[in-house]
Amino acid sequence: MIKIRSRFNVRLHVWAASCLLSLVAVSLANASPDIGKAAPEFSTPDSNGTVQALSQYRGKYVVLEWTNNDCPFVRKHYGSGNMQTLQKEETGKGVVWLTVVSSAPGAQGYVDAAGANALTRERNAAPSAVLLDPKGAVGKLYEAKTTPHMFIIDPKGTLIYKGGIDDKPSTNPQDIPGATNYIRVALNEATAGKAVSNPVTRPYGCSVKYSD
């Protein structure tokens, strides 16, 4: 009985996900991810089968985090708990945190919905949602290059930050305590009504494992 229901659920999710994939919206008017301009709009399914559209979060800050759980640079920030701490800190203040997986099927870091949810549980992560982007549509829209690669969108839908998680490019978790976390700084500045002092920084990490 339980088995049947779970199979049905899986089928429903697959069906829902394939429908939703076709809904991935690309707004050509905002096609370039430029600071001070409207952030590119997307509408794509998360790991629970819910459509996540950027526009539904007007009025809130949104963080986009590109990830690949097997990338050594991502492991640095999850193995140390740094990313989870930041997620909890910021979502606790009402920030929407969307983790995005753009690895193609078969490539490093690719996860399906169940895999993504298992990773969130295992790592005790606290994103608002994990976006499944196996075709790389959202990744290419934002020109996401690395994992991690971070973006911040303000309550008006304007892109206010793109770049690295911090200023210490390395795979060594021991570098985290001495690093300046650009996300924390940018969100503190923005919520205090100030301009973000470093709106573009070097994103460091593995290349995003796109399908092409």
């Binding site: 430029d34 600071i35 097997d70 990338c71 050594p72 490539a107 490093q108 290419k140 020109e143 290059k145 690395t146 793109k162 770049g163 490019p169 390395s170 795979t171 060594n172 709106p199 573009v200 070097r202 460091y204 990490g205 593995c206 290349s207 995003v208 494992k209 796109y210 092409d212």
Partner: protein, 283 residues
């Protein structure tokens, strides 16, 4: 594997000291410190077998990577990470920054990185004060970090101990030809250059003199992130003694650019590639 070769090396170097044969110590100096990882064989090599007090010499981190894998230049480009070497040196010996041989551009989809396939020697210029003459041998310790990538990336590191005897004359080491080959690929001469920028593009104008007529291909590698779009096509043309190179600006296109630093690769009609230093001011 690593501990065994280290042991062999230590025994060999003791024997060398005991016997005191200079020919043997040349080989020991060149062959010590091999670190074998999953994806690389790394070793420290020098162009001298003995260090002459008051002189400068090269020490290289020789990385032989898994075939077709790569590691990175100073500016790794869109992803990746530059190598790092932390030296612990005896008194009287000072290390410069890593001197990088010319990289090449590694394209992968819409992304580009700068680095080296298969093998590279990352060079460090060492300066020995006259006072090192009081020591019989110099022990150079280094901890090196490198990222080795193909479709995926693996961070690797190694702890090195490199012993070089001190002598009145700097005798060449067996690794000298290898070092010389990579030193020749380190851009040294600075070319007169100017740049100008528009909203979307950066134009670099470089004086090549008479060599300009002989150019087959040029490529600019910026030292800093975000100055140029790393994967973008670089177009260029000859203008008398100059070449003018144009490329799309990178992620930092909204920021003022006071100076433009990097290296220029120039390939001549015979296919010989040379690297030049670029420190350009606005036109």
């Amino acid at each position: 594997m690593f501990s065994r070769s280290n042991f062999t090396v230590r025994v060999a170097s003791r024997i060398t000291v005991l016997i005191g044969l200079s020919m043997l110590s040349i080989d020991v100096g060149a062959a010590t410190n091999v670190v074998v990882t999953d994806n690389a064989r790394a070793s420290l090599v020098s162009d001298v077998a003995t260090v002459k007090p008051g002189s400068a010499f090269w020490v290289g981190l020789h990385l032989k990577l898994r075939p077709h894998w790569h590691t990175y230049w100073l500016n790794p480009g869109d992803s990746g990470l530059a190598p790092r070497i932390e030296w612990r040196l005896p008194e009287g010996l000072a290390a410069g920054a890593i001197r990088y041989p010319l990289p090449h551009r590694i394209l992968s989809g819409a992304l580009a990185t700068y680095g080296y396939d298969d093998e590279v020697v990352l060079l460090t210029r060492m300066s020995a004060l006259p006072a090192v003459g009081a020591q019989r041998e110099l022990l150079l310790r280094a901890h090196a970090y490198w990222l080795v990538c193909d479709k995926i990336c693996i961070p690797e590191e190694g702890e090195f101990e490199f012993r070089l005897p001190v002598g009145a004359n700097a005798a060449p080491a067996s690794a000298k030809p290898l070092i010389d080959r990579y030193v020749a690929r380190v851009p040294a001469a600075t070319l007169q250059s100017r740049f100008k920028i528009t909203d979307a593009q950066l134009q670099l104008r470089v004086r090549l003199g008479g060599d300009a007529s002989n150019v087959k291909r040029v490529m600019f590698y910026p030292t800093e992130y975000g100055v140029v779009a790393h994967a973008a096509e670089q177009t260029w043309r000859r203008a008398g003694d100059y070449v003018e190179l144009t490329v799309a600006r990178g992620e930092l296109k909204n920021q003022a650019l006071q100076h433009l630093d990097g290296v220029l690769s120039v390939v001549d009609a015979r296919g010989v590639e040379r690297g030049y230093v670029i420190n350009a001011l606005p036109q």
